[in-house]
Amino acid sequence: MTQCPECEAHVERKDMIMGEVFSCPDCGTELEVTATEPFTVAYAPREEEDWGE
């Protein structure tokens, strides 16, 4: 369990893996898993101009 850096809501790891991006269930901010043991999250990287598929 950790906290969303934006809204401080509790965020659970569930089955998420290192590097996974997800939306905060409370405020919807895009977050990234930065470690699994212990579980930590940070803001997901911001989209850059040359990003795409």
């Binding site: 290192m18 991006v21 990234e32 990287p45 101009e49 795409g52």
Partner: protein, 282 residues
């Protein structure tokens, strides 16, 4: 146990990358994670354990340099540097499609703002202005008349990057409120969806919705031809239904496939990992 190590070059782990990691694990393939914001690239190979690298970086620039280095180190890559270089640039893609005789929207390129107005006159209004490099429909503009063109070109010219002073002008294709996204792996059609939107940009990243495409030999054949024309690999071909028939407007080199999987049920990640395994053993 696998006889090779798969390098995953990536920006973040989206559902697509998670499925790829799961598919590799299910096949006993060891994976070396290569985050594109952490890896360093000496001129001489040092430290990379992988035998083959699957590129899932979201950045076109990082993809290009990363792949060029991995190939320099003697690793196999999916997709190859040449394919990514071509598909990441709409101008190079259009040239290649035209050379291969694949129907594609009428396109005129201009290299300065002044020439862009001439290019728009040549294409005729309405037209679409696209950045030569970019995705997800970002910074694209539908231009209805010359007055609007002058305003948009002035804005683009004010953006700092020289790439915004290169103008890719394409005819506006009067299509149904949908386009087609077709996935091709190693010259074989895999799955296709319609991307539906009432707005003119139908990218699912822009909120376009996916719907299944029934079997269509015409779509499948054209998608495969387009994918092979740009060099093959794991690709997503975007097609539009123009009044004169199907046209290919883009080939994506590092496709997202969450929507395709949800709509068609096809396990693209498994197919990609099987393809990568085959390339590794070639």
């Amino acid at each position: 146990m696998s006889d090779f190590t798969l390098g995953l070059f990536y920006t973040v782990i989206r559902p697509e990358e998670k499925w790829i990691l799961e598919a590799a694990e299910a096949r006993g393939i060891p994976v070396e994670r290569l985050p594109d914001d952490e890896v360093t690239f000496p001129l001489v190979r040092n430290g990379v354990k992988s035998d083959i690298v699957l590129n899932r970086s979201m950045s076109h620039t990082r993809s290009l340099y990363g792949l060029r280095f991995f190939e320099h180190y003697g690793l196999r890559t999916v997709n190859r540097f040449d394919v990514v270089n071509l598909c990441g640039d709409k101008i190079l893609t259009s040239l290649r499609l035209q050379e291969a005789g694949i129907p594609t929207p009428r396109t005129v390129v201009a290299l300065t703002p002044e020439a862009a107005l001439k290019a728009l006159d040549e294409v005729g209004y309405p037209a679409v202005l696209k950045p030569p490099v970019g995705s997800w429909g970002r910074l694209m503009a539908k231009v209805d008349d010359r007055e609007e063109a002058e305003q948009i070109i002035e804005h683009k010219d004010a953006l700092a990057s020289p790439m915004h002073s290169v103008f890719y002008v394409q005819e506006y294709v009067p299509k149904p409120d949908r386009d087609i996204r077709a996935n091709v792996i190693d010259g074989e059609f895999v799955a296709a969806i319609y991307r539906r939107s009432l707005a003119w940009r139908t990218n699912t990243a822009r909120g376009g919705e996916g719907e299944p495409v029934g079997p269509s030999p015409e779509i499948e054949e054209l998608a495969v031809r387009a994918a092979q024309a740009v060099g093959g690999g794991f690709l997503a071909v975007d097609l539009m239904e123009s009044p004169d028939g199907l046209v290919v407007h883009e080939v994506n080199h590092t496709p997202e496939f969450k929507t395709v999987r949800a709509v068609t049920g096809v396990d693209i990640a498994a197919k990609v990992v099987d393809y990568v395994s085959e390339v590794a053993r070639r």
